[in-house]
Structures are given as structure tokens and as C-alpha cells.
């Protein structure tokens, strides 16, 4: 039992260490350091050695001293004997090793002797491994998007691995791509249009959805069950099958290339989910309040305005944010409906930019940053509202 746990522990912890060091090496490479090898064998051996030593020493040494000791040894071997590296790289390695040693500190002989310890060790390290790996895989494209927007075409072609930014250059040179997309490509206008369409969609959707959701949640009428099930089924129907008929009809009515046409379509596509989310919330409001209001001779309109609305601010804001994000990110309809650059939304404008093979990619990435930042900010800031909304209604996507 004990040997098995020990072997599992030594192997999985050293693999975890290897992945940490490798990610650091990738990041260092992107800052212009010449690294050609992950040194799999060396790192794994060192990792196993450290893990075993850690268990051997156990509590005989203070954990801070122990960690510093391990970190120093590893940094010395990796940064001095195996390859000569600049100081900042070694500081990073040192930090990683401190983190690693603190993590493995609790796995002493006693711990590894307990029941299921081999499984627990594997699960613990898989968790750590997952956190590091998923963060890296998810954040890397965003990181690349940001960095690329600050580079020049020439620098990107000479060395695609150079992610370093020279912050000493002039402000105007550093933000050149942003100046260009706002001056030459009129991105200011597109931001306004996107904002207008998204905010407009939110307002119109709420105006339509709140009364309908109230009726579905509270009132009895013929066809109510049919309506509430069909909301979900309609929600499942994809935009792509609507595109051709809408395109033809909108062309004939002259609604294509108009922001108003886009607004109608966005509203209709977000309505089902908005009604679904809102009616769920309205049902949770105690009925007694409305009964009291009926006694006071309030009509339905008054009930919605005076009782339901004030009580469901959280739900309404979560629906609003959510509809805003759908409308802001929407691409298919803006591709189909807009072909006049004067009425482009941001997404459509970026796609239009990329259609020209001559467009330098840093402009494309600057545009992408501009369209991404508002949604990410809104999302991070209002995460609590949005997450509950997402799980209740499940976003279209």
C-alpha cells in the first residue's frame, strides 16, 4: 500500500511540476528567450527526486526552509548547469518551485500510509494540473489577441514568437493599430451602431417579454401550456434556417441594410428565452401581494408596474445583460443583412476587414480587442447575475 502510494505520488507530482515548468518555458520563449527543449527527462528526474526527498525529510525541517532549499537546488541545476538563463527566468522557476514544494509538503510518510492515499494524491494533482492547464489554454488566445494588436506587421513576420512589447516607445506608435481602426476604418461609428442595436434590442425585448412572461406565469387562458412548451421548442430552432426567407422578405420590404431590421430580428430571436427566464422568476413572487393589489382595485397594468417590476429587478437585469450580450456578439444576421459599410455592426465590420487579405492582422486583432473588451467587462462585473441567468435559461450559442 505504502510503496504504491509513494510511486503514484512521485510520478504524478513530477509530471505536474514538468507541466508548470513547460508553461513557464513557453511564456519565456515568447519573451524572446532561446529555449529549444523542454528537457523532459531532466525535469522529471529532478521532480521525482524532490518529491521523494520531501517525504523522506517530512517534518524534520521547517517547511519554509525545506521549500527554499528545494527551490534553490532546482533553480541552480535548471538555470545554471543545464542552460544559462537570465535572472528573471530563474526567479520565475524559483517561484514555481516554492509553490510546488508548498503543495507537496503535506504528503509525508504518515499521509501516504492512509487508506486510498494513492487515489487522493492522483486526484489532488489532477485538480492542480487541470487548473493550470485550463487557465493557460483558455487565456492564451486572449493574451495573443491583446499582444498582437500592439505589434507591427514587420515584427510579426520576422519572429512570430516574439510577444514582448516595447513600452518605451511613443504612445502613438504603441497604440497605432487602434488609431488606425478608429481613423481609417471608422470603428467609432461601428461601436455606436453596435451599442444602439444591442441596447435597443434589450429595451424592446423587455417591453415585449415582461407582459408575456407575466401572463404565462400568472393568468389562466386557453393555450397556456401549449405556449409555454412551444417557447422552448422555438428556442431550439436555429438562425440558419431563418436566414433565407428573412433575407428575401426583408430585401423586398427594403428592411435589409437597416439597423431597424436587425433590431426586429434580434428581438424576435431573444424573446423566447427572455420570456422563459422571466416567467420562472415571476412564479417565485408570492401571490398574496397581487391579491392585495386586486383588492385595491389595481388593474393588470398597475400590478405589473407597481408590484412585479420592483420585485424582479435582479431577474430583469440578468435578462437585460444577457440579451445585450447575445445582440452584441451576434454575427450571422449582421452578415446577411448588412452590406453597406455605413450600417455595419462591430462584428460585421471585423469580418469585412478580414475579407481584404491586405489588411494587416494587428488591425484585425485591435478590432477584436475592441469588440471583446465590453462583453468581458460586463461579464466579470455582473458575473453573479449572469451566471444565474445562464443556468436558468441557457444561452443560445
Amino acid at each position: 500500500m505504502k510503496t504504491k502510494s509513494l510511486i503514484y505520488y512521485a510520478l504524478i507530482s513530477s509530471i505536474f511540476l514538468f507541466s508548470l515548468v513547460s508553461i513557464w518555458k513557453i511564456l519565456a520563449t515568447l519573451q524572446g528567450i532561446e529555449l529549444k527543449n523542454f528537457n523532459f527527462a531532466i525535469i522529471i528526474t529532478l521532480g521525482i527526486a524532490i518529491s521523494l526527498l520531501n517525504t523522506l525529510i517530512g517534518d524534520k525541517l521547517n517547511y519554509i526552509i525545506k521549500s527554499t532549499f528545494f527551490a534553490l537546488i532546482f533553480t541552480f541545476i535548471d538555470g545554471y548547469i543545464v542552460q544559462l538563463m537570465p535572472v528573471w527566468y530563474n526567479i520565475g522557476i524559483f517561484g514555481i518551485l516554492i509553490f510546488f514544494s508548498l503543495k507537496i509538503n503535506k504528503y509525508n510518510q504518515k499521509y501516504l500510509a492512509t487508506e486510498h492515499s494513492s487515489q487522493i494524491v492522483v486526484f489532488d494533482f489532477l485538480t492542480l494540473f487541470g487548473i493550470v492547464l485550463f487557465s493557460f489554454v483558455i487565456l492564451f488566445p486572449f493574451y495573443m489577441m491583446l499582444i498582437t494588436s500592439f505589434k507591427t506587421q514587420a515584427a510579426l513576420l520576422i519572429n512570430p514568437l516574439d510577444f514582448s512589447i516595447n513600452f518605451n516607445q511613443d504612445f502613438k506608435v504603441l497604440f497605432k493599430s487602434y488609431f488606425v481602426i478608429f481613423d481609417t476604418y471608422k470603428f467609432g461609428r461601428y461601436i455606436l451602431i453596435s451599442t444602439f442595436v444591442s441596447v435597443g434590442t434589450v429595451i424592446v425585448t423587455l417591453l415585449f417579454a415582461i407582459p408575456a412572461a407575466y401572463a404565462v406565469a400568472r393568468l389562466n387562458f386557453f393555450g397556456k401550456n401549449f405556449l409555454s412548451t412551444s417557447i422552448l421548442i422555438i428556442y431550439m430552432f436555429p438562425a440558419i434556417v431563418l436566414v433565407i426567407p428573412l433575407y428575401t422578405v426583408f430585401s423586398q420590404l427594403g428592411l435589409r441594410n437597416s439597423v431597424g431590421g436587425l433590431l426586429i430580428v434580434y428581438t424576435a430571436t431573444t424573446l423566447p428565452v427572455a420570456i422563459y427566464m422571466l416567467q420562472g422568476y415571476f412564479r417565485s413572487i408570492p401571490k398574496e401581494l397581487e391579491e392585495a393589489a386586486i383588492m385595491d382595485k389595481l388593474n393588470w397594468f398597475g400590478i405589473i408596474i407597481k408590484i412585479i417590476l420592483p420585485l424582479s429587478i435582479p431577474a430583469i437585469s440578468s435578462v437585460a445583460l444577457y440579451v445585450f450580450m447575445i445582440a452584441w456578439n451576434e454575427f450571422l444576421f449582421s452578415l446577411m443583412f448588412l452590406d453597406n459599410p455605413n450600417s455595419f455592426t462591430l462584428s460585421r465590420a471585423i469580418q469585412y476587414l478580414s475579407g481584404d487579405a491586405e489588411t494587416p492582422r494587428q488591425y484585425l486583432m485591435a478590432g477584436s480587442v475592441v469588440v471583446t473588451i465590453p462583453v468581458l467587462l460586463i461579464f466579470v462585473y455582473f458575473e453573479k447575475y449572469l451566471v444565474s441567468g445562464l443556468t436558468a435559461g441557457s444561452v443560445k450559442g
Binding site: 487508506e115 485538480t127 483558455i138 487565456l139 430580428v265 469580418q351 468581458l376 461579464f379
Partner: protein, 419 residues
């Protein structure tokens, strides 16, 4: 008393839901039915423009004659295919102006010129001229004349409204469109995308369900790909995967993982030697599926996490007392608790992936073996400009979707009966 109340209630309910129902009906349900109509017609992109009579007004002064003006209307039929019948023309004149030598098709009535031009064949063009004279000797105002726009009306056939139907489109969809290739690509994409996003959703939810430093931050980060705009993310990936100047290929080559750059989005097959067997891997399709998983596993993550947090702690404590390890706990407690949510997720993601258009369109445009049914709708309708074909493919998609939903509700209904 209560009878009238319930009547009022009903009426209010209908008033409250009517706007929403009307909008959803006209923008979502009507197009689905319209697809059926269009799919049985031979309609091209150019046919859907309604022919319009148009006139461009040009005002010219006449030399040596300051109290007269010449107005030229460049008349034309906007359509290259269809004729316009009974074209009627109407233009207003400022008060002090009278036409002279008016064309015999026209007449003047209280400061307005009315003309009847009869039928215009396709591509019809005419330069129509009117001479104007001041009636009170005052100078003629060219600007005022220019700002008044003539009105033209006419009748024409709308190709969408006639009743000529054909089965040609469906014949083409099934027999000339590499239909089974399309279908299999769509199913590969949908199936592996769905399974992948659910598997990663389970892994990450399990991860975030534990306590560690930076857990809320981690939860936000995991949702980034899902909330980010697809255009920005797709172009970033395209740049990342570029065979020559892309970061990924250069990194892999730098660390000697691969010898030659891989064209991850532009190469249909990659031959991999696997224990002496040559395996052909659909490279571009795999890349697109990976993007799809990367972008949509957060949905699965959110759903499963919400479910996991609702699992009573006592279950795990009891299992611990019984001596169960982490693996047993996961298999015997966690998995049974999340099967319901997984089956819902499978359904939702399967249907949405089946209809996914933007992601593939932006990454590969449907090239190198990534052409799915939704991409084909776009290609037929707007690249080849055959609206009828595009609609026919849409109909196939809707039919398949209805079949999925039917199967799903059958299965779910069965399970609900069993419980």
C-alpha cells in the same frame, strides 16, 4: 361574478402575450414555413428584387432663354428580367411654373403632372423630357424644382408569389450535392463537438467544485470563451493556427515536437502512422471540432457545476464513512447525480452544434472537408446565389431537427415514466 372575472383575465392574458407572439410568429415561425414554399421554386438571388420603375431627375437651364427650364427624367426598369405593367408617373411643380408642349401621355392637374407610361419590358430605358415655363415672369427656382422627387408606381409579377412549383431543388440536394458527405461531416462535427464539450464540462465542474485559492476567478475565466464574440475568437484562433506565422506551429517547431508546419485549418487529411497502420485523420475538421469544444464546454461546465453544488454533502460523508475512495465517490455518487443534466445538455448541444454556422464559416469557410449542412445553406443561397436550393437544404435541416427532438422527447418521456 367569477365568470366575468375569468373572462377579463383571459382577455388581459391575450393582450399581454399578443405582441410577443406576433413578433415571434412573423420572424421565426413564418420563415420556417416560407422555407417550404421557397424550396419548391426555382429562385435565384437576382430574382428576389422586385422590379421597380425608377426616375432620375435632372434640371437644366436653357441658353438664351432664362424664363424656361428643361427637366429630363431618366426612366428605367430596375429589373433585368421582369416587365412592369401600368407604370404611372407623378411629379409636383412649384406654383408659378407651367409645362409647355407636354408629352401626349401626360396631363396636368392642379400643379401636378400625371403620366401613364404603359408597360415597360425588362431593361427598359427612356429619357423623358419636359419643358417648363414661368407663368408670372419671375425667375425660375432650379433648386426647388430639384428637391421635389417624382413618384412612380407599377405592377409586376413577384416570382415568389406565383404558383410554379418544382422538385428540382430537392433532386439536386439529394443527388448532386454530395449529400452523404455533407451529412457525415455534419454528424462528425456535431457528435464529437457535443461529447467533447460535455467531457470537458464534467472535468472542469469537478475541478471548480473543490475549494482552492482563486476559485471564483477560475470560474469566470472558464466562461470567457463562451461569452466572447465569435468573430474575435475565430480570427484569433486563425492567427494562432496559421501554418507559417502562427504562434502554435512556431512553438511546436521551436520545441521540436513537429518538423514541418501543419496547416491545421487548410488541410483535409493528415496521415498518421499508428503502429504500422496509416490512419487518415480529418485534420481541418478535427481543428474545427476542437475550437467548438473550446468555445462551448463552458455551458456544460455551468450546468454541471450548478447540479454538483446541489448534491447533498451527507452523501459524500456517508460514503467516506463506508471507506469509499475519491474514484468510487465520483462513480457512485457524482455521476448518477449528473446524468439527468448531461442528457439535457446532450440534447441542447447536439441541436445547436448541428446548426452551428458562424464558427466554421469564420475559421475555414467550409473548405478542406469542413462543409456542414448549415454552411451549405449559405453557400447555395448566397455564394451560388440559388435561393431555392438554400431553402431546400434548410428544410432538410429542419426535418432532421424534428426527428432528433421526437426521439429525444420519446426517450425523456420514457425515463420520466420509469421514475
Amino acid at each position: 361574478m367569477s365568470d366575468t372575472l375569468s373572462k377579463i383575465e383571459k382577455r388581459t392574458a391575450y393582450i399581454l402575450i399578443l405582441p410577443a407572439v406576433f413578433l415571434v410568429f412573423s420572424i421565426i415561425l413564418f420563415p420556417i414555413f416560407a422555407n417550404v414554399w421557397i424550396s419548391f421554386k426555382e429562385v435565384g438571388l437576382k430574382d428576389i428584387r422586385i422590379p421597380e420603375p425608377r426616375a432620375k431627375k435632372i434640371v437644366k437651364s436653357i441658353k438664351d432663354n432664362p424664363d424656361q427650364l428643361k427637366v429630363i427624367y431618366k426612366l428605367r426598369n430596375s429589373s433585368l428580367i421582369l416587365e412592369i405593367r401600368d407604370v404611372k408617373f407623378q411629379d409636383k411643380l412649384p406654383k408659378n411654373i407651367k409645362p409647355i408642349n407636354l408629352d401626349e401621355r401626360c396631363r396636368v392637374k392642379s400643379n401636378k403632372i400625371y403620366c401613364e407610361f404603359g408597360n415597360w419590358e425588362a431593361k427598359y430605358k427612356e429619357n423623358f423630357q419636359i419643358l417648363l415655363k414661368s407663368s408670372d415672369g419671375k425667375e425660375l427656382n432650379k433648386k426647388e424644382l430639384k428637391t421635389i422627387k417624382p413618384k412612380l408606381t407599377g405592377k409586376s409579377d413577384n416570382i415568389l408569389l406565383n404558383t410554379n412549383f418544382t422538385l428540382k431543388n430537392f433532386k439536386k440536394v439529394f443527388f448532386q450535392n454530395e449529400f452523404f458527405e455533407l451529412l457525415s461531416t455534419t454528424f462528425y462535427y456535431t457528435f464529437f463537438g457535443t461529447i467533447g464539450s460535455i467531457v470537458f464540462g464534467i472535468l472542469t465542474a469537478q475541478l471548480v467544485n473543490q475549494k482552492f485559492f482563486g476559485r471564483t476567478f477560475m470560474r469566470s475565466v472558464l466562461l470567457f470563451p463562451y461569452v466572447g464574440p465569435v468573430v474575435a475568437l475565430a480570427y484569433t484562433w486563425e492567427l494562432l493556427l496559421d501554418p507559417y506565422s502562427g504562434t502554435l506551429n512556431n512553438l511546436l517547431m521551436n520545441f521540436q515536437v513537429i518538423q514541418e508546419p501543419l496547416n491545421l485549418l487548410g488541410q483535409k487529411y493528415l496521415t498518421v502512422n499508428f503502429f504500422g497502420f496509416d490512419l487518415k485523420l480529418r485534420l481541418a475538421l478535427t481543428t474545427v471540432i476542437i475550437f467548438e469544444i473550446w468555445r462551448y464546454f463552458p455551458l456544460a461546465f455551468l450546468f454541471i457545476l450548478a447540479r454538483l453544488q446541489a448534491v447533498p454533502k451527507e452523501l459524500y460523508e456517508a460514503a467516506e464513512v463506508d471507506g469509499a475512495g475519491p474514484l468510487q465517490k465520483f462513480i457512485n455518487i457524482t455521476l448518477p447525480q449528473i446524468t439527468a443534466v448531461i442528457s439535457i445538455l446532450f440534447m441542447i448541444r447536439f441541436i445547436w452544434n448541428f446548426n452551428k454556422f458562424e464558427d466554421i464559416f469564420l475559421l475555414t469557410g467550409g473548405a478542406s472537408g469542413t462543409r456542414t449542412l448549415p454552411i451549405n445553406v449559405y453557400e447555395q443561397g448566397f455564394t451560388i446565389s440559388d435561393i431555392g436550393m438554400g431553402s431546400a437544404v434548410s428544410i432538410v435541416i429542419v426535418a432532421l431537427l424534428l426527428i432528433f427532438m421526437f426521439i429525444y422527447f420519446k426517450l425523456i418521456g420514457k425515463r420520466a415514466d420509469e421514475n
